[in-house]
C-alpha cells in the first residue's frame, strides 16, 4: 500500500494549482505535498519586492497552515526529494526517508543558471530565486554602493530597479541587443531602456562578458568589447535551469525541461510534471518550448491535477503562450503571444499606436481574422482579455475593424459574451 495517493513535489504555483484541481475531482484521496523550503509556500515572483522592502517577508505566503488542514493535505516542509522513482512508485528524500505514491507531480520549478564565465565561480555573487536569496541581496545591498547585474531579463531588470531605488549605482550587462528580449520589440524595449537610463541605471547591451575577477572591494567584470567594470556587488540573472534531477537515470532527459504531453504526463509511469520544471508544446507551432512564467505554471498545474485525479472535465493543454506583465518605475507593460511579429510577415498584420508624450505604446498583431499577439506600455488594454482571445482563436470576422479601432471595449465585450 503506498503511503499517499497523490504526491506533489514543490509547493509553489504549479503544485498548489494541481492540489486544488485534485481536490475538485477527488475530495478524499490522500495528498502529500512536499517542499524543500522550511517556510510556508511563497512565490519567486514576489522576491524582488521583498528585497526592495515593498513586501514584508513575513507576509508573502500563498497559503496558511489552516488551508492544508481544510484541504486534507499532509504538507511537509523541509522535505527535499532526491529521487522520484517511477518503477517503484517511491520518492526518496534528502533525509533518506521514503514515501510511496500512486501518482506523483514534479513541480519543483527552476533555479538560477550560472553561466560558464571565467572567474565567476571564484567571485561571491548574488542570485534571486528563494527567500534566502532575497534576504542575502537585501543585506548585501545595505553595505554596497554599486552593483553589476548580468542579464536584462525580467529578474535582472526587477533587481536593477530595486537596487537603483535603494541608491546604488547600477549597471546591467546583457548579451542580447535589447532589454527583455523575450517579450518586447525594439521600439518597446527602447522605451523601457530610456526610462531606466533616466533613473540612472546604465544598460550595456550586446555586450558578452569575457571574465570576472574578485577584487578588493567587490568584483571586476570584463566585456568582449574591451570595457572593464567594477562594483561592490554582482548579481547573476542570466536565465534558469529546471530542477529535474530527481528523475535522472530513468530514461528521460530533462536538462532543458522535462517534456510533458497535453495532460502534463512525463512519459514515466504515474509521473506528471508542471511549471518551470517542464517543457511543453508551443501554442503557435507545437514545438517543445520552455515557458518559465507564473501563469503557465498555474495553467499546467491545474491540468496536471485534473488529469491525475481523472477529472472527466480535464481539458488538454492548448500550448504555451509567451506572456507577462512587467511594471517598472511607475510604468506598466505587458506582452502576450506573437507580439514580436513585424508587419513584414506574410499573413501578419500589425496595428501600432505610439504616444510619446504619455510614454505609451500599443501593438496588436493579427493573422488573418485572428489576434495572435499584443504588447503594450502604459496601455489601457486588458492583457487577460487579449490572452484568452488569442488562445481561443476568436474569429473576429466583421468585428475586426471595430476591434482594431476600440480593442479595449470590443475585447471586453467579446470575452464577456464568450463566458463559460
Amino acid at each position: 500500500m503506498p503511503d499517499t495517493k497523490y504526491l506533489i513535489v514543490g509547493s509553489s504555483h504549479a503544485g498548489l494549482a494541481a492540489l486544488e484541481a485534485i481536490r475538485l475531482a477527488d475530495a478524499e484521496g490522500s495528498i502529500t505535498l512536499l517542499s524543500k523550503e522550511g517556510s510556508l509556500p511563497y512565490s519567486p515572483t514576489v522576491l524582488p519586492y521583498v528585497f526592495s522592502g515593498m513586501a514584508d517577508a513575513d507576509r508573502v505566503f500563498l497559503r496558511e497552515d489552516d488551508y492544508f488542514k481544510q484541504m486534507g493535505v499532509d504538507f511537509k516542509r523541509g522535505s527535499a526529494v532526491t529521487e522520484l522513482n517511477a518503477q517503484k512508485g517511491q520518492a526518496v528524500l534528502e533525509t533518506g526517508e521514503t514515501i510511496g505514491f500512486q501518482k506523483a507531480l514534479l513541480a519543483t520549478g527552476a533555479r538560477p543558471q550560472v553561466p560558464k564565465i571565467e572567474g565567476l565561480s571564484d567571485c561571491p555573487f548574488q542570485v534571486l530565486r528563494t527567500l534566502a536569496d532575497a534576504k542575502a541581496l537585501k543585506s548585501g545591498m545595505e553595505s554596497a554602493r554599486s552593483a553589476i547585474i548580468l542579464g536584462a531579463g525580467l529578474i535582472g531588470m526587477h533587481a536593477a530597479e530595486s537596487l537603483c531605488e535603494a541608491g546604488l549605482q547600477v549597471t546591467v550587462v546583457e548579451m542580447a541587443g535589447r532589454v527583455l528580449p523575450g517579450y518586447f520589440d525594439a521600439k518597446a524595449s527602447g522605451m523601457i531602456k530610456s526610462i531606466f537610463n533616466e533613473h540612472g541605471v546604465k544598460l550595456l547591451l550586446g555586450s558578452p562578458v569575457t571574465h570576472v575577477v574578485a577584487n578588493h572591494n567587490g568584483c571586476g567584470v570584463s566585456l568582449e568589447n574591451g570595457l572593464d567594470l567594477s562594483a561592490d556587488m554582482i548579481m547573476v540573472a542570466t536565465g534558469v535551469i529546471p530542477n529535474w534531477e530527481c528523475l535522472e537515470n530513468q530514461g528521460i532527459d530533462g536538462a532543458q525541461g522535462v517534456l510533458v504531453d497535453d495532460y502534463m504526463r512525463t512519459g514515466l509511469k504515474n509521473i506528471w510534471a508542471a511549471g518551470d520544471v517542464t517543457r511543453s508544446k508551443s501554442f503557435f507551432d507545437n514545438s517543445p518550448t520552455y515557458s518559465g512564467t507564473l501563469p503557465m505554471a498555474v495553467e499546467q498545474g491545474r491540468i496536471a491535477g485534473a488529469s491525475m485525479a481523472e477529472d472527466p472535465g480535464v481539458k488538454p493543454f492548448p500550448g504555451a503562450v509567451p506572456l507577462n506583465t512587467y511594471s517598472f518605475f511607475g510604468n506598466r507593460s505587458f506582452s502576450v503571444g506573437q507580439a514580436m511579429a513585424t508587419a513584414s510577415g506574410k499573413k501578419t498584420e500589425v496595428n501600432l499606436i505610439h504616444i510619446p508624450s504619455s510614454n505609451s505604446y500599443q501593438k496588436l498583431v493579427f493573422n488573418a481574422d485572428r489576434l495572435v499577439g499584443a504588447m503594450g506600455i502604459n496601455s489601457e488594454l486588458d492583457p487577460g482579455v487579449l490572452w484568452r482571445m488569442i488562445e481561443r482563436q476568436v474569429e473576429l470576422g466583421d468585428v475586426k475593424e471595430a476591434f482594431a479601432a476600440k480593442p479595449k471595449e470590443i475585447g471586453r465585450l467579446l470575452m464577456n459574451n464568450l463566458w463559460r
Partner: protein
C-alpha cells in the same frame, strides 16, 4: 456539499449605457463621481445601442487568486467574494493577465488594481440601475440551506437524459424530509425508479405505487390513519398529468373537495410520455403526439388543454400553485407554503415539465424551454392561498415574448401553420386574462 453564492446578473437587453452603475460604484468605493474608480465597466458594443459589461464574476476557481504572487487576492469561503488586500499587493498586475473578463483592472488614478467587492453584500450598482439590467441574485441562499438537508433520493436513477424529474424529486424530498409517505402512481416518476425496481427503491422515505385512479384517495386514507394514531406525517404525491388530469381526476377532485391533508404535485409533461407519447387532456392544442399525429389531414391535437390548475383553484384547496424547474427559487417558496397548507387541507402544485424524449426537445434546452414557456405566458407562474384569499402572479411577465419563441424550440410543434400558432397565441392571452380577472376579485372560495 459545495457552497453557492450571491451573484450580480446582467441583462444586456435592458441596458441603455447610462453608466449610472459606474457612478454609483465610484461613489461607493472612492467617494467621488470620477468613473475611473468604477469597478463595474459598461462598454459600447459593436452596434449602436448595444452594451457589454465587464465585472468581476467572483469565480469559483479564481485565476486571479492563483496567479497572485503576493497572496493579496483570496476567495472568502462564506460570501464567495474574491477580495483584494492592498497591504499585500506588490503591483505586478499578473491578476490583470489572469482574468479573461477584465474583472480586475488597473486604476489610472490610484496606480493600483481594483475589483468588485460586492459592497459587503449590498451592491450599489444594482440599486442604481433603474432599468433592472443589473440584478442581485440571492437564490444561492436557498440552495445552501437546502443543500445541507438530507438527500432522500438515491443516485443513479434512470430518467431520460435532460429530464427534470430528478431535479424536482430530489429537491422536494430534501425539503419535506423523511417523515413523509410518498405516492407515485404509474408514470415517469415511478418509472425512473422512485417506487422501486426489483424490490429496491430509489426513495429513502416510505413510498407506494397506487393505481392511476386512486392516488389521492389512498394518500387521504393513509393520512387519516396517521391522524387517528396521533402522528403528523406529510403525504406527498408525484403524479403525472395522466394520473392527475385524466385517469386520476375523480379521486383528486374528491380529495380536494373533502379537504384531505395532502400535497399533490402534478408533474405535467403534457401527455403519456413513458408509454409511447400518447395525448392526455393537458396536451396543448397543435402538439404532435403518437395519437394526435401529423399527416395530410390531422395537424396535431385539435383541442385545447384542460386547464387543470384553474380547475383545482375552484376546488376548495388550501393552496394552489403553478411552478417550473426553470424557476427553482419560486418553486422552493411554493413548496414551503404547500407544506404548511397541507396541515389544513389540500395543497396542489402543478409543475410544468418539458419532456426531451416525447417533445423532441434537445436535453440541454429543457430548462431554457421551461423559462421560455413562462416568458411567453404559456405557463404563467401564480399561486392562490385560501387562508388569505390572495392570488397573484409570482413571476409577472410585463412584456411577454411571442409564443413562437417557445414553440420553435420544440419538435412537437414543428409542423404548426400560421393559423395554429395564432390560435395558441390567442389561447395563451385568454388564459392570462382569465387569471388576471380572478386576481382582481379576491378569491374567497374557501368561505
Amino acid at each position: 456539499m459545495g457552497r453557492s453564492y450571491h451573484t450580480i446578473a446582467f441583462d444586456a437587453q435592458k441596458c441603455n449605457g447610462c453608466q449610472e452603475c459606474e457612478k454609483a460604484c465610484a461613489q461607493a468605493k472612492a467617494g467621488v463621481t470620477d468613473l475611473v474608480h468604477s469597478r463595474i465597466k459598461v462598454s459600447p458594443g459593436r452596434k449602436e445601442g448595444e452594451w457589454g459589461l465587464a465585472l468581476c464574476r467572483q469565480c469559483a476557481q479564481p485565476l486571479c487568486v492563483m496567479n497572485c504572487p503576493g497572496g493579496a487576492l483570496s476567495k472568502d469561503p462564506v460570501s464567495g467574494v474574491v477580495s483584494w488586500d492592498e497591504s499585500r499587493c506588490v503591483g505586478c498586475k499578473l491578476c490583470t493577465l489572469a482574468c479573461a473578463y477584465a474583472g480586475i483592472t488597473f486604476n489610472q488614478a490610484t496606480g493600483q488594481v481594483m475589483k468588485c467587492d460586492f459592497c459587503g453584500g449590498d451592491p450599489a450598482c444594482v440599486k442604481s440601475c433603474e432599468r433592472g439590467a443589473l440584478q442581485h441574485l440571492t437564490g444561492s441562499d436557498i440552495y445552501n440551506e437546502w443543500g445541507d438537508l438530507e438527500d432522500l433520493f438515491v443516485p443513479g436513477i434512470s430518467a431520460c437524459l435532460g429530464c427534470n424529474s430528478e431535479l424536482l424529486v430530489r429537491h422536494t424530498l430534501r425539503r419535506v424530509g423523511p417523515n413523509t409517505v410518498v405516492a407515485t402512481p404509474p408514470g415517469c416518476i415511478a418509472g425512473v425508479g422512485a417506487v422501486g425496481v426489483n424490490g429496491l427503491t430509489a426513495t429513502k422515505t416510505p413510498v407506494f405505487h397506487p393505481l392511476l385512479t386512486n392516488t389521492a384517495s389512498m394518500l387521504a386514507g393513509a393520512r387519516r390513519y396517521y391522524n387517528r394514531i396521533g402522528r403528523d406525517v406529510t403525504m406527498l404525491a408525484f403524479a403525472g398529468d395522466g394520473g392527475a388530469a385524466d385517469v386520476g381526476f375523480q379521486s383528486l377532485s374528491g380529495a380536494a373537495e373533502r379537504g384531505e391533508q395532502i400535497i399533490f404535485i402534478c408533474v405535467d409533461n403534457e401527455g403519456y410520455m413513458n408509454t409511447g407519447v400518447q395525448r392526455s387532456s393537458t396536451t396543448p392544442y397543435g402538439a404532435w403526439t403518437s395519437t394526435t399525429p401529423v399527416g395530410s389531414v390531422l395537424r396535431g391535437k385539435t383541442r385545447d388543454a384542460k386547464p387543470l390548475p384553474i380547475i383545482m383553484l375552484m376546488h376548495n384547496c388550501e393552496y394552489v400553485a403553478t411552478a417550473s424547474t426553470a424557476y427553482m427559487e419560486d418553486y422552493y417558496q411554493k413548496l414551503e407554503k404547500a407544506i404548511l397548507a397541507a396541515k389544513k387541507g389540500m395543497a396542489y402544485v402543478h409543475v410544468f415539465s418539458p419532456c426531451p424524449t416525447g417533445w423532441r426537445l434537445p436535453p440541454a434546452r429543457l430548462i431554457e424551454a421551461g423559462r421560455k414557456a413562462v416568458q411567453c405566458n404559456l405557463m404563467p407562474l401564480w399561486e392562490y392561498e385560501s387562508a388569505t384569499g390572495d392570488m397573484r402572479f409570482t413571476h409577472p411577465v410585463d412584456n411577454p415574448l411571442p409564443v413562437t419563441d417557445y414553440l420553435s424550440m420544440i419538435g412537437k410543434y414543428r409542423h404548426l401553420s400560421a393559423e395554429q400558432t395564432q390560435h395558441i397565441q390567442e389561447h395563451a392571452d385568454r388564459q392570462v386574462d382569465l387569471l388576471r380577472k380572478f386576481m382582481q376579485q379576491r378569491m374567497d372560495l374557501a368561505v
